[in-house]
């Protein structure tokens, strides 16, 4: 019955809330306003904090000065094409409702020209729907990784310079089966679209390689105590794939260590051992293999970025998925604005065209967009050693269909509780 994992239903925008247009025409008023939308409230606040740091590094790189080091502080001293650039910071609590309300505030109340964000999967779907009703505003994703934001029924003015949740797992399936020799893996993730995409991304390749996933465990959103779920896990597996993030990984690893499964190798989802999380995990993180779009690279871009990040925010964790993601999106936005000299009077035509053709070199490698305005970029395999995630393999130029034929890939049922499957 669930035809689609990530998209509830028809995505032609509806309702009155989305239909209001800006209070006044923003373009050509001498100010370019950029809205920054992340999650500074609720359980994912730590991720939002990192995201905002990354975005601000891009702004500072472009010549701005920070108004302060707080999460919600803006910037000053940046002009593009003779126009002052202003940053308006908004926050959600990771629910689509809150993201939508925040986007409405940015677009309709604060008259921003570009929205950069949001942070999490389902928020992105809501914002994409909204984008369709506001074609004279440009939307550049944050780190939201739901596949269907761009894979199916995309919005013409929504751009994503980060890869999606399935792309983030590219390579891990092969690596687990071939290099690590795991023939059977059990997965555990929260019951919503982002983990579906993560597990789906893993299994697409893992099952194709011949691996087996005897059981997928979906815990209700907000689960903290995993002990009873752990108790139901089959014990005759080679590894456990944990598609959790933030505090949950911490809770999970603690509990698995105190169960009969103690010592089983752990494969991590992309946000399981991300830079901002690994700190809290301490020793328990050692040895976890995971995949993700951001790695500690030996490139000038990475080094410059890492240096700038610690300089601006001494308390920041090492570069991770969220800050680098927001950095990349913000950098692409600023580059495009610079290219067109800040000209937005044409209903953002020039800006959107420029963005579509943009290629950026991000701290995590080169990025270009496909015809749906979705990033094609490198992905990396990691292992945690000595308290840090160390890159052990690069998967170059991963596209959204993971190398499969687009038509065929889109025709498959979307990732969800039961799909894909190879018990």
């Amino acid at each position: 019955a669930c035809s689609s994992s990530s998209d509830g239903s028809s995505s032609t925008g509806g309702g009155i809330a989305g239909s209001a247009q800006k209070d006044s025409k923003a373009a050509g008023d001498g100010v370019i306003k950029i809205g920054l939308l992340s999650t500074l409230d609720g359980p994912y606040a730590a991720l939002g904090q990192a995201a905002n740091m990354g975005a601000k590094v891009a702004l500072v790189d472009a010549g701005a000065t920070l108004d302060g080091t707080g999460d919600r502080n803006g910037i000053k001293d940046l002009t593009i094409g003779g126009q002052k650039v202003e940053l308006v910071v908004e926050s959600s609590d990771a629910t689509p409702d809150a993201a939508l309300a925040a986007t409405q505030r940015l677009v309709e109340k604060d008259d921003v020209d570009v929205v950069v964000g949001p942070l999490s999967g389902d928020e992105g779907l809501a914002v994409k729907d909204y984008a369709k009703q506001h074609l004279d505003t440009t939307f550049v994703n944050g780190t939201s990784g739901a596949q269907n934001t761009t894979l199916r029924d995309p919005a013409p003015n929504f751009f994503r310079f980060t890869t999606d949740g399935a792309q983030w797992m590219a390579g891990l399936g092969d690596y687990a089966f071939t290099d690590l020799g795991y023939k059977k893996v059990v997965t555990l993730g929260e019951d919503y679209s982002f983990p579906y995409d993560q597990v789906g991304g893993f299994m697409t390749q893992y099952c194709a390689a011949g691996g087996q996933v005897p059981d997928k465990i979906w815990v209700p959103l907000g689960t903290k105590d995993f002990s009873s779920f752990i108790a139901t896990m089959p014990t005759d597996v080679d590894a456990i794939l944990v598609a959790l993030g933030g505090a949950d990984v911490l809770n999970f690893t603690k509990q698995i260590d105190q169960s009969p499964l103690a010592g089983k190798p752990i494969l991590g989802g992309s946000i399981a051992v991300d830079g901002s999380v690994v700190k809290g995990l301490g020793e328990r993180a050692e040895g976890i293999v995971s995949a993700g779009p951001v790695a500690e690279l030996d490139t000038p871009e990475y080094k410059a970025y890492a240096a700038q990040l610690t300089k601006l925010f001494p308390n920041a964790a090492p570069p991770g998925l969220f800050d680098v993601g927001y950095y990349t999106e913000m950098k692409a936005t600023l580059d495009a604005l610079n290219t067109i000299g800040g000209k937005l009077e044409d209903g953002h035509k020039a800006l959107n065209e420029t963005l579509s053709g943009m290629q950026v070199v991000s701290p995590s490698g080169p990025v270009k967009l496909d015809e749906n305005r979705q990033a094609i970029a490198n992905n990396y395999i990691f292992q945690v050693t000595d308290g840090a995630s160390k890159m052990i393999k690069t998967i170059p130029d991963v596209n959204q269909t993971l190398g499969m034929d687009r038509a065929e890939y889109v025709d498959q049922p979307a990732n969800d509780r039961d799909h894909p499957s190879c018990p």
Binding site: A45, L47, G222, T232, L250, A262
Partner: protein
């Protein structure tokens, strides 16, 4: 009759479960019981405040959260788990006392306004803890003596979780004696019934009520450390534990310590078994059971007639 039918089907269910996978059954029961222990510790302060002051303290989760964070910092600073427990308890207790004296007392006798004030506090505490401790999940870590597992045959179980059960029993017994057997307990109950008249017998009622509120907050702070060592402490835990406390206390019956224990046990076990047998709808099962219990016994399992 209904109870008998329920008991029979419950026994049948357990028997089948036990036969099909004894290890799973035992560990599920253990999980349920140890969760229940934590829930009881969290809810004990809530039942005190809720049952005695008739204040629906919706900031209870925030007290828990603050306790966890403060405990974390103390633990980081001096490395003693026990001191962290005590320090967090005292700090949060003091916080609750100040809140009660400065704000809550002014709207005493209007239950709606009281709970609304506590909602306001929730918002503030969440915002402040976020700016102080950040959004990352923090792990206090169990005390080193308990930080390992017990092995019985193929069964592996966390020592800390078992110790929690003992801790819960201790708190429960202490509270029961305080409320039912001491004059202070009686005075507190009288203060809830008719504060104005109790005052004419020479009791400083506002002071007494503040004390109770402080004690409830203290228990929440202690629970924060216990829970932060059991799992971890992070933003969002406040709402979670508030909801759990509400469930436990209401199912058990207002202000009744044995009731809270029964409520915690029911919630913990139902949750554990539902997660094993019906993972997708486990939360629904937990709440459905609560609704059914309350529909048949509106005053909770152990609650007297209002």
């Amino acid at each position: 009759m209904l109870a008998v039918a329920a008991a029979i089907s419950l026994a049948a269910f357990c028997g089948r479960d036990l036969a099909s996978n004894p290890l799973l059954f035992v560990s599920t029961v253990l999980n349920g019981v140890s969760s229940a222990a934590l829930y009881f510790i969290v809810a004990s302060g809530f039942t005190l405040i809720f049952g005695l002051l008739r204040v629906t303290n919706l900031a209870h989760g925030s007290f828990y959260l603050a306790g966890g964070y403060i405990g974390y910092s103390i633990h980081e600073a001096i490395g003693s788990w026990l001191l962290a427990l005590a320090g967090a308890g005292l700090a949060v207790g003091a916080m609750g006392l100040v809140f009660q004296v400065l704000l809550l007392r002014r709207v005493a006798s209007d239950p709606i306004r009281e709970s609304l004030l506590t909602i306001g506090l929730t918002v503030v505490v969440a915002d402040v803890t976020l700016s102080v401790w950040g959004g990352t999940a923090l792990d206090i870590g169990a005390p080193s003596v308990l930080d390992s597992s017990i092995h019985v045959g193929t069964l592996v179980y966390s020592q800390y979780r078992i110790a929690l059960v003992g801790f819960a029993l201790l708190i429960g017994a202490g509270l029961y004696v305080l409320l039912q057997r001491t004059r202070l307990g009686m005075t507190i109950r009288a203060g809830v019934d008719d504060p104005a008249i109790l005052a004419t017998t020479g009791v400083n009622v506002p002071f007494l009520l503040s004390l109770v509120f402080g004690l409830g907050a203290l228990l929440a702070g202690v629970a924060g450390v216990a829970g932060g060592s059991y799992l971890s402490i992070s933003q969002g835990e406040d709402a979670r534990y508030l909801l759990i406390s509400l469930l436990v206390v209401i199912v058990g019956g207002l202000g009744s310590v044995p009731g809270a224990a029964a409520g915690a046990l029911l919630v913990g076990l139902v949750e554990a078994f539902a997660q094993v047998h019906l993972p997708t709808y486990s939360v629904l099962v937990t709440f459905a059971v609560m609704i059914v219990v309350l529909a048949f016994r509106p005053q909770g399992l152990f609650g007297g007639v209002q």
